[in-house]
Amino acid sequence: MTWEYATPEEYGLADLLCCAASREVQDNEIVFAGTGLPMVAIMLAQKTHAPNLKLIFEAGTLDGRPPEIPTSVGDARCEMGASRASGLHDAFSIAQRGYVDLGFLGGAEVDEYGNVNTTCIGDYLNPELRLTGSGGNPDINSFAKRTVFIMVHEKRRFTPSVSYITSPGWRVKKWPGGEFVHRKELYGAAYRGGPSAVISTAGVFRFDGESGKIYLDTCHPGKMPEEIRELCHFDLDISRVSGETLPPTREELHLIHEVLDPEQIFIPKVKKGV
């Protein structure tokens, strides 16, 4: 594989996010895949730097190697090449048992401790908009050692407190009282980790190992740290920026568009020179 980076006119934002997500995967890891761009990202990792990763689809495919990209985790395309095709009870039991290293998730809102909302906008009891609900987001986030969120970056989505905590971050509510505590305190022996990164359409964010607070790690090409801080409703720490998000390589772009998602189901092709 050649590490020849593509120029800005050769890739789109979805390509950049896909490659950034792929680079979060380490070889030999067991990875829980949600529907959409993460599936492409994980399969990209499988074809590049992490050939021995094991893929779990929530609907029940274990150690999958699909020949074609599935459109959802329930898809008939998941099964072929897998170690086993079974069901959700297996997938969630395996996750609760502690096998999962990494999960990719999405969200409508995130707060500075990595709490994510996918349930509703506004007051839960009188919502402005009811969304899809949790799905497996909190489960994967509770069970996996690391989780990575992929999100559209809009100021309203990066908020000091989410409308509803669907998925647990680093500082969470202890019930029945609802006081905020560190995640470690609440999960006891089941504590394995938590959110490790947010990949937004503006940059890549990580969480402080002690406080669990979010900080900006890399800016996507063309974005400045101050500009990204302005795109958050909380006071974003930009003192730890390590540089620019690495662009896709030509090899990665080839794999995404010619091998993994030639039908452009999740990742549109950017027309060169337009």
Partner: protein, 320 residues
């Protein structure tokens, strides 16, 4: 020969107003849509859906006003519609009660019910608003009678055996009827699911009555030749019926793909109640399964047909 065979119309008639229901499948795969359409035609009311996850079946029943309570974790059409617009609209108008659990919690609740246990302990979703006592919808509505609906939504406790710390107890999902849609069922009720079986074995076992709609009813003896390939036991199934393409517009492993164009159209057109009503007039009311398939037409159904070597269609256009 058992007397388990019924018609589509009879299958819907078994499901009475106010019944609690669950379904086979996963999001947009292997949902018993033909029975769902028949329930809408028959004007069923007051249903309580308890689902591991929702999908088009939820959206059709909710849009048609058949559902009073939806207890689950997710509804949408995956790639073809990002959320459940009908549920969302009815939540906004307070025309439906929604009880949120997480996906794993719903799965474990069915596993508990399927094993005859009253509850199960888990460590999922700790610290989230899913566990917020103020958001106990059925409790707020005074519906927690401790009979079919559990007395509590959650109980928080600590591991008494190994000192592993905080646990949440979730109640078994006690459900009246499971409506399944599968590839094959034998005359005595043995079910063979091909591909991922999702939460079907637990759903069928948890319910008091299990109705299985299959692409084909096959000789029981054929399934028993290789009993290790079967998914649900004969005596766990109460009623069976044959209904080819009964899962359309959802997909079925090895038989046909998801009809993405249909779901996109449904999602786009049913944001409003007027839109839903018009869609239902076009595709549900005044139809039976045969006229529905006729309206879809041969070319469309052939494009969805799965390649028998690959188990999915190579003829549909999936992307842009």
């Amino acid at each position: 020969m058992s007397g388990k065979r019924i018609t589509l119309q009879q299958a819907a008639e078994i499901i009475k107003d106010g019944a609690s229901l669950t379904f086979s499948g996963f999001t947009i795969w292997r949902r018993p849509m033909a029975i769902v359409f028949e329930l809408i035609r028959q004007g069923r009311k007051g249903l309580h859906l308890i689902e591991v996850n929702g999908g088009p079946q939820t959206e059709f029943l909710v849009g048609a006003g058949c559902v009073d309570i939806w207890e689950s974790c997710w509804v949408g059409h995956e790639l073809y519609g990002k959320y459940g617009a009908n549920l969302s609209r009815k939540v906004g108008a307070k025309e439906i009660l929604v009880e949120d659990y997480s996906h794993a919690e719903m799965m474990f609740r069915f596993a508990a019910a399927a094993s005859g246990a009253p509850y199960v302990a888990t460590q999922t979703s700790l610290g989230t608003d899913i566990h917020n006592p103020a958001y106990d919808t059925l409790g707020r509505a005074g519906l927690r009678d401790g009979k079919r609906i559990p007395k509590e939504k959650y109980v928080f406790t600590d591991d008494p055996f190994f000192g592993a710390g905080p646990q949440v107890l979730v109640p078994a999902a006690k459900v009246d009827i499971a409506v399944m849609c599968v590839q094959q069922v034998g005359e005595e009720g043995t079910v063979r699911v091909s591909g991922q079986y999702y939460s079907d074995p637990e759903a069928a076992r948890a319910a008091d009555i299990t109705i299985v709609m299959a692409e084909e009813i096959v000789p029981e003896e054929y399934l028993r030749r290789e009993s290790d390939r079967n998914t649900i036991t004969s005596f766990e199934v109460d009623y069976i019926l044959e209904c080819p393409y009964g899962a359309h517009p959802t997909g079925m492993f090895g038989r046909y793909d998801v009809d993405g164009a249909f779901l996109k159209d449904f999602y786009a057109r049913t944001r409003t109640q007027e839109g839903f009503d018009a869609f239902a007039r076009e595709w549900v009311f005044g139809h039976d399964q045969m006229s529905y398939l006729e309206k879809l037409g041969w070319p469309r159904m052939l494009s969805l047909k799965a390649n028998t070597a690959l188990n999915y269609s190579t003829g549909i256009k999936r992307g842009q």
